[in-house]
Amino acid sequence: MDLLLQHVINAVSLGGTYALLSLGLAIVFSIIGLINFAHGELMTAAGYTIFFMLAAGVSLPLAIVFAIVAVAILAMGIERVAFRPMRKADMTGLLITSFAMSMILQAFFQNAIGARPRAVAMPEALSGVVNLGSVHLGIIPLMSISITVVALVALNLFLKHTVMGITMRAAAEDIDVVRLLGLKAGRVVATSFAVSGVLAATAAFLWVAQRGSVDPLMGFVPVLKAFVATIVGGLGSLTGAVAGGMLLGIVEVLAQVVLPPSMVEFRDAFVLGFVILLLLVRPQGLLPAPTGRRS
């Protein structure tokens, strides 16, 4: 029973991190129709920011806030420099741009900082365990879940109760009409990148706290998983992204637990096999976005 609870906590914690990442991808996708493959590098940038801040003796909460702000600005900068000039390009052009951006940033991290992983010195307190009778729960997964919940609630409030949030939801459905109403589409796109940066930085902290190190390719695997999660959830749908991320985290932990030890190294193959089966049954994803209606 105790073990089960621990697995559930681990699954929700991992799923939450994927959910934050896939939300970031989905928000940008819903507005400009681009899968931003440089999203992983936003995560890596946040990881390094936290690493350097902690190394400089800054407290962890301040380091996290700083990483969030820095990466939101970086995301807007990438939009301004790489994507905005390409706004008339087709899907393929945008996709290639995002791959290029991803590789440029990876090369930058490798050359400016170094290819080997850097250990991130997390405060001692985080490595502790909460003991509830016979149940031992790690502080990091519990913190992970709390932070994910706070981030999701905050994003939901932003999207439902601010003019910019409502405009972003409208732009996901029909950005031309948003412009017709006099609302600045460029600002909406920039904000969507900023929000994706905030989510990537938050996820980066959770990832680093769990693993204790940063390297130039840190963002690649989790964002690849998050991409799978957005497809599973239904491309462009925000609730779908959260559901897809959660499901993927749960399936991954489940595979880890139930597979015999000799098969655990093939865990991802089983997880992706499950995704393929799911998409065969539901090709549109779990909770697809309402398709844009044009007359």
Binding site: V177, R179, G182, K184
Partner: protein, 238 residues
């Protein structure tokens, strides 16, 4: 037309790749009038409105209140008082009626009080008050059309470009829409109306323009066009 025009269009050209949808049309809209733009499917009516709104790139001169606005984007033109209610209504389906209206006025807060404007819209369209917290996608076609028009009016425009407001609506709703257009025009709003239902449009318009293959085939007083048997035969026997 005696007064200086609100909108003056000269040599407007819209092309999509090799296809010329609008071929150098010129016309003007006087303040306070309803100008009907009629013609067969594919005559260039929607392209013309879209070009005027700034969504579709076009060449030619578009003067609004005597100033050339052809270089301005859709956001800027909305700010100047030009609103387009697009064909197919295009309300934001997953947003509530309240949110759709909110966005209609959000960029125009400096011009008027959005709350007062919203009350005005809800008294003009009582059905929207009933549906206020429902998602726009759940409204009927007629209700969506009312919402689309109300959303445009939230910017307090001086010129309303209305694209096919009666398309796909039940006959008694069509009556309501035409009554509304006359009512709005009565408050001083200038309207450029694109309609499939040409005879109905001519009945309420002051002037009209008949488009054929992207060019102006005929123009004149709406009542004259409506009375002319040739025109009835050629353009109104839909």
């Amino acid at each position: 037309m005696t007064a200086s025009p609100l909108l003056d269009v000269a040599g407007l050209n819209v092309r999509y790749g090799y296809v010329e949808a609008v071929r150098g049309i010129s016309f003007s809209v006087a303040p306070g009038e309803i100008l009907a733009l009629i013609g067969a499917n594919g005559a260039g009516k929607t392209s013309t409105l879209s070009a005027l709104s700034g969504l579709t790139p076009a060449t030619g001169r578009i003067a609004y209140r005597g100033t050339d606005i052809s270089g301005l984007g859709a956001e800027k033109r909305s700010g100047l008082g030009i609103a387009l209610t697009p064909e197919g209504r295009r309300v934001f389906p997953s947003l509530t009626v309240a949110e759709n209206l909110l966005l209609g006025g959000a960029a125009h807060k400096g011009k008027h009080d959005p709350a007062a404007k919203r009350e005005e819209m809800l008294s003009l369209f009582p059905i929207l008050k009933e549906r206020y917290h429902q998602r726009a996608g759940l409204l009927s076609g007629g209700e969506q059309q009312m919402l689309a028009i109300a959303r445009s009016l939230m910017s307090a425009p001086d010129l309303l470009l209305l694209d096919e407001p009666s398309l796909g609506l039940a006959p008694q709703i069509v009556d309501q829409v035409f009554e509304l257009i006359v009512k709005l025009n009565g408050t001083g709003l200038t309207i450029l109306l694109v309609e499939q239902n040409a005879s109905r449009a001519l009945e309420i318009a002051h002037h009209a323009l008949v488009l054929a293959n992207g060019a102006v085939a005929l123009s004149g007083k709406a009542s004259d066009l409506l009375a002319s048997p040739d025109i009835r035969a050629a353009y109104l026997s839909a």
